[in-house]
Symmetry: C2
Subunit: 284 residues, 2 copies
């Protein structure tokens, strides 16, 4: 596995592989969710991963400084997982002095997680556009765990006529159903137990759907009731949106995303279910 | 010369030429200023021009509907000028229903012309980024007439790690010194005579500079006095900025852009002098 932090070197190294580059952009602190993305790049692709904790997607009061950065372990995981090239650029090379260009998928970045994370999706879209311009992948993989991110990036690619295929890959869950996330590492043991209530809650919603309930207001009320039993879980939002336009959905149906964010202690966790299109947390 | 309006067809047609595509994006109503850009693409390049009157760079009260669109004449000029492929996309293909992605070079788009043309440079940056992603040029040429546009596009290319060289080409002027512009066609005969005062005014400023005057406040006062003799010319701004950061310049020196915008009747005209780096209007 080649490792480089230098943009110009990377461009040179990738030239022979143009046209069959597969790319997984990450912020590191890799887990099986990240590693599962690699399998979606296609066997014959030249597999590039980037690890870059992107400062502009963190809000002022967010966890940029404490975000985990276990780079030695990440490199080992990349090596074991068949990554051909690992790109680890510095902040200074990605955002040199005087940097001032940003891309925004308007409105979509202000919904769901965007309501409390102002500027987050602008930061994500901008860094991914830059990484795409540097790496020039034919295919790039992201996880459905960050569903809003995936939909925004797909929209950016389509709107900006970028020549890259975005593959969104199934959520990988722990044995108790909790969606894997680098931020799970912040949880204390008791918080970690509580966090399993999140997929349970989605499971309940999905069970209601399978029993024929469609009205989202009712399903949402059931989910809130579920969380009320655990007042240590602070519900930020539970929403249903059409995946094609991110407009609120009144009824659950295929094509709708049921998404939620909660806080447990100081940790913000998100999860979602693509109605009908994805197994429920405990059916996997 | 190949002519196409279809983005997918264009991509196919350009595939064999990837790596040596030269590109001139325009809004049509071509004049010698546009045609001069073609010579800067390099002899061996495959020369692509686009003609697209980009709606998102026009303000609500601007001249989108009356902007000249002499497409037959433009095609003839392209043919005569050695363009290999002319791309004339429709509004609907560039901005399909639900379009919502925009790129912004922050702050720089709000200065100079941006003070009265809110959103203009966001519209320019967005369409040029899209066109670059579609055409994939190695080199693209723009005119120094639109100096702020050129500097913003160069900054966008650098910030977003785009792999394209931006060449900015000298202003082409009419025999009386007026910078060529598609909008000159709006001028009545008497307005057209008045418009020659614009390059005269830049010439005065340049003459003062050559005589040793550096203080921009004094030079600006001289220029305003020049325009005061012609009250039909409504001065929008006269400013001097450093070209590397667009910060106001107190003194004229190499690296400073002296730029102005005026209105004559309903027509807005711009012009500029890159201090010391460019012949003055009447020295050409």
């Amino acid at each position: 596995m080649i490792v480089t932090s230098n943009i110009d070197d990377l461009r040179e190294l990738l030239k022979p592989h143009l046209g069959h580059i597969g790319f997984v952009p990450t912020m590191g602190a890799l887990h099986q969710g990240h590693l599962s993305l690699i399998k979606h790049l296609g066997e014959s692709s030249f597999k590039v991963m980037s690890i870059f904790v992107n400062p502009i997607q963190f809000g002022r009061n967010e966890d940029l400084s404490r975000y985990p950065r276990p780079i030695e372990r990440d490199m080992e995981l990349c090596r074991e997982s068949g990554i051909d090239l690992l790109f680890t650029p510095s902040n200074e090379s990605v955002y040199p002095r005087g940097y001032r260009t940003y891309v925004e998928v308007e409105d979509w970045g202000n919904l769901l997680c965007g309501r409390v994370r102002a500027g987050h999706f602008r930061g994500v879209a901008t860094v991914v556009l830059k990484l795409f311009n540097i790496v020039k992948p034919s295919i790039a993989a992201f996880g459905w765990k960050d569903a809003q991110q995936g939909l925004i990036l797909r929209k950016m690619v389509s709107d900006l006529n970028l020549d890259v295929e975005i593959v969104l890959c199934p959520i990988v869950r722990d044995s108790d159903g909790l969606a894997l996330s680098s931020r799970n590492a912040y949880l204390t043991q008791s918080e970690r137990s509580l966090a399993a209530r999140i997929p349970e809650c989605l499971q309940c919603a999905g069970d209601s759907y399978r029993e024929g309930l469609r009205d989202f207001a009712q399903i949402r009320e059931g989910m809130l009731q579920h969380f009320r039993k655990h007042p240590e879980i602070d519900v930020e939002y539970i929403e249903a949106v059409n995946m094609d336009d991110l407009e609120p959905a009144i009824e659950l149906r295929v094509g709708v995303l049921l998404a939620l964010a909660v806080r447990i202690g100081s940790t913000r966790l998100i999860d979602n279910w693509r109605v009908g299109a994805e197994p429920l947390p405990f059916d996997q």
